[in-house]
Symmetry: D2
Subunit: 339 residues, 4 copies
Amino acid sequence: MKNIGEYMIITVNKNIKSEEFLDLEHIINNKGLFLKEIDSEHFLVTGDTYKFDEQSILVLPGVLGVTRIKPTYHLVSRDVKMQDTIINIGNVKIGDGSLSFMCGPCSVNSEEEILRIAKGVKESGANILRGGAYKPRTSPYFFQGLGEEALKYLKEAGEKYNLPVVSEIVDSKDLDLYLKYVDIIQVGARNMQNYELLKKLGGTKKPILLKRGPSATIEELLMSAEYILKAGNPNVILCERGIRTFEKLERYTLDLSSVVILKKITHLPVIVDPSHAVGNYNFVSQMALAAIACGADGLMIEVHDHPVESVSDAFQSYKLSKLKSLIEKGKEIKEIINK
Amino acid sequence: MKNIGEYMIITVNKNIKSEEFLDLEHIINNKGLFLKEIDSEHFLVTGDTYKFDEQSILVLPGVLGVTRIKPTYHLVSRDVKMQDTIINIGNVKIGDGSLSFMCGPCSVNSEEEILRIAKGVKESGANILRGGAYKPRTSPYFFQGLGEEALKYLKEAGEKYNLPVVSEIVDSKDLDLYLKYVDIIQVGARNMQNYELLKKLGGTKKPILLKRGPSATIEELLMSAEYILKAGNPNVILCERGIRTFEKLERYTLDLSSVVILKKITHLPVIVDPSHAVGNYNFVSQMALAAIACGADGLMIEVHDHPVESVSDAFQSYKLSKLKSLIEKGKEIKEIINK
Amino acid sequence: MKNIGEYMIITVNKNIKSEEFLDLEHIINNKGLFLKEIDSEHFLVTGDTYKFDEQSILVLPGVLGVTRIKPTYHLVSRDVKMQDTIINIGNVKIGDGSLSFMCGPCSVNSEEEILRIAKGVKESGANILRGGAYKPRTSPYFFQGLGEEALKYLKEAGEKYNLPVVSEIVDSKDLDLYLKYVDIIQVGARNMQNYELLKKLGGTKKPILLKRGPSATIEELLMSAEYILKAGNPNVILCERGIRTFEKLERYTLDLSSVVILKKITHLPVIVDPSHAVGNYNFVSQMALAAIACGADGLMIEVHDHPVESVSDAFQSYKLSKLKSLIEKGKEIKEIINK
Amino acid sequence: MKNIGEYMIITVNKNIKSEEFLDLEHIINNKGLFLKEIDSEHFLVTGDTYKFDEQSILVLPGVLGVTRIKPTYHLVSRDVKMQDTIINIGNVKIGDGSLSFMCGPCSVNSEEEILRIAKGVKESGANILRGGAYKPRTSPYFFQGLGEEALKYLKEAGEKYNLPVVSEIVDSKDLDLYLKYVDIIQVGARNMQNYELLKKLGGTKKPILLKRGPSATIEELLMSAEYILKAGNPNVILCERGIRTFEKLERYTLDLSSVVILKKITHLPVIVDPSHAVGNYNFVSQMALAAIACGADGLMIEVHDHPVESVSDAFQSYKLSKLKSLIEKGKEIKEIINK
């Protein structure tokens, strides 16, 4: 399937000593790769260059530069597997050309609440229920989640309304809990490069929803996914949720171009979470529809619940009623772009 | 019309000397504004605070900080004018709820070429013709444009196919040429903060297409528009074209959230130019449709022309044929989001 | 000690309903804080506002905006503790006005190598030995470190040359190993927001070196330190190591202004790691000296060891000999800025 | 002098048609460059590749990618001229290994004030006087400068105290005024890519101080300098003044690594303006000294003058007295790093 060779170009000092050059060649060959001369200062490296760390070559005496022509990710690439990866979660499929909607509250605050919201989510046409149990909060003074209790309520609500559930893991020690209670394990943006966690998730077959870190490049997101695939788990869903920029009126800048680029270079499904980027729930629907126009395989949307029960019904139900219309419009846009 | 007051909060040292405080109050009052005590360390400034430069207060002895509650832009704000500004260019209206498509080549390279492309642009359903005459190029070694000759050909092509034309101005000395030849004067991203140019454009009534600089904040874009409005020209169209971020696989990151935010806070029309952001013509259509889903009033799209005439017909016409389908899909998406 | 009050300003809709307003006031009061009217649309919140999550107020009906005048960090702030925190590690003190130099190889590759380098580090005048045992690598195909074996060699080398040692932890399950083998536990940039790890480290009294994430704001770095202090461990050293920007010729942009700002607002020591930012060992010394000119309490510097033993001696010892001169120059600059 | 060849690598589709390939070769050869085959998909372009716009190759049918091994700047590079460029302005030399200090008020507000400040600047040991005449302000409501009157006062003050003067030009129509009144013409960050202005300045021999735009890459700064050199003026001084990042506690992030990188790749002098970056005059001295430690050839520092004459003497003279100490410390640090 792999039809494009891997390449790196090494630039050496034109006065490189012969023992320095032999040393360089020795290291390259030891990895099963080959040096091919372009001219006296430039050499092509062919073979599985993704295994190679530029830094380890750059420090060699006589070497001036290393230019990577092919990126370092591998198993996640369409060069290795052309066909779209389809994730199966019960009756739900992600990545098969359909649209998935993962909706629910930011955190699971009570059994009653999550049951009530799950009902609304189902009736709105969404097909997956989300809800936080362990919340990674910037401040230690903010609510950190109900933990296992929340996972139980979430599973109960999912089963009652026939919705697979997704929740974020924040420590590898909780893996067994997540294997037991949830259908998709989310790795949040802050843990995208927690490689020990990724390796452990790679040891399961559970679908993993991997969110892009707020300053991760697209290539780094793919490398994190590569950790999971290399460890044996092919069921990874990528998620764009906004990157950090200088713009002050946005919490994060939703990078919708990344969806188009990712769909081009990887076979993994790509979804978008517009809830946290703009930082204003009034803007979620536009960004959600735009994500679909860009070719996203689905959306993760927080359904905000009013924090004070007795007053909040109008506020909350407004949001749920908006969800149904949003999902319908999203499906219509999907049809248009598929023409 | 203006229904929200302007506010700033000044934090002073709790040991501020009385003469320092009188001095502060004097400066505030001299601008026609008022200080209102919150407590011994915090004072509210009410009135037209947009006229006030925080820096000039921050340097005062005894002052610890200045927090602006209301932004510095004014005439461009919906606080001052609620109704959408509609720009009229012959039969074309921008900002009235319809979609505009400004299409054409990056630069006008010959009379024949621009006539040929204009024909295709018209047949594809676009309503405005674009084409560069003076090109601001990063390198002095790259093609800098045909200048006035290009403007003449552009006008000729526009008249032949009944398309208003837009082209970028790069120096205020060329203003008379632009007033003569074009219907919309574009200010490129690199000149967004060329305030002398903005003041001169503000002295005309010609519609101005103002592009956001690659590292300009939304507020700075609005302040640049404010320069034009303050000088007397209300006909400004804003344009998002991508901001600079750390992402290496994108030339610029198209900030579509800015469209939603701008439509909320300003009455000026907002269009999107997806051509330069992603840096790959294959991705233009998805980003263009996403821009419409976000509520953009129109699109500016470069129709790429093959640089070598004899070979390029197939390549070029492929792009023009894609344009028609893109415009149709764009209009269908507009209908869906307007429901 | 705390001499500046905490403030937030809440902007409400001027047509806010009375039950909405009572609801807002109820929530504020429940946290032990108070609402004070500025005018009909603006209210001041006084008290321990750092406990308050803006988002939980922003979602309330009738609320238009929340402006935080005081930041959300607390224990780390000079408002709470004016005097510099001094970290004691054996004979070494960090934060007492002296300069610390934490030097050593990127990773511990063998017993012999770390002993050899430790000797050079000691002779160069550095006072702390660094070396990686578990390496968080972007690619799963790159060397991941020797693990516990590396920690043993590091401790051995540190004891032989009377140098306290520092190494990076990558998973909370390894905490006991780190408590046993190292004197300072490093939290790498990628784990700066691994809050579960931070909480566990906060349960010990071991000095923690907390690196700023490549896209973390200064406030977020302080909030992560706050997690450790709140959990009971006051021994935190902050470390600037470069942030992600659009500049392509730098791996990261070393943000030296952050040192000046941090020294102003927090009592914790601040060091700088220039090794990874510029991405070129030739530039390390200039940035290291600049960090000292900015007031850093110390430096962490990778001493690069040639990967091929037999050829690399010249290359490596060159670097170690540079270290001595660098440390001497650094101390001279420190004297000048202290005048 | 040029001792490193220029290179680009073109990746073509392995099924590229022979007429497509001939077309590509024709275009390359027409520019005086050559294609050399690496393998069936990769070709090396040798010759003056800085004249080549990647985009014009990327749009060719059959071409998949273009990798530039050498950058697009040329005359500014040490590849073309190894020796440092030294700018002579009367008795002052910039770039000869000495330190220059360009100091003065943000804007020239009155004859009396600039004379008073010039005296202090001279007595503090600075060797160049700065002062704004035309101020590019983000808001049209803020003070825009005294114009020609300010230039006259500045020249008068410079002559009285034997200080060459520098001031910012904001429109090419003012060039004659600047040629008459100032010794160094400053191009501000906002005009760094105002190429028409750069071409005109390149037509003179006046020293030009070119500031890096807040989101300009180092390569783009060099390309803007290239415009001036190519037009015939070799007297360009580069200036780092902070780039836009996500960090909210800094107005701009002073990128001191850029100084080290620039000194390596260009022969032009490099100075640093720390005044606007941190946004707090208390932090200027540390960043100024750090800039010297990085190898800067000089500093531009705003001496803040109190806006209210009658009260401000103490405040202002405090700043001027700090300047003398800063300059002395700066010179001592320069001596240390030169050892």
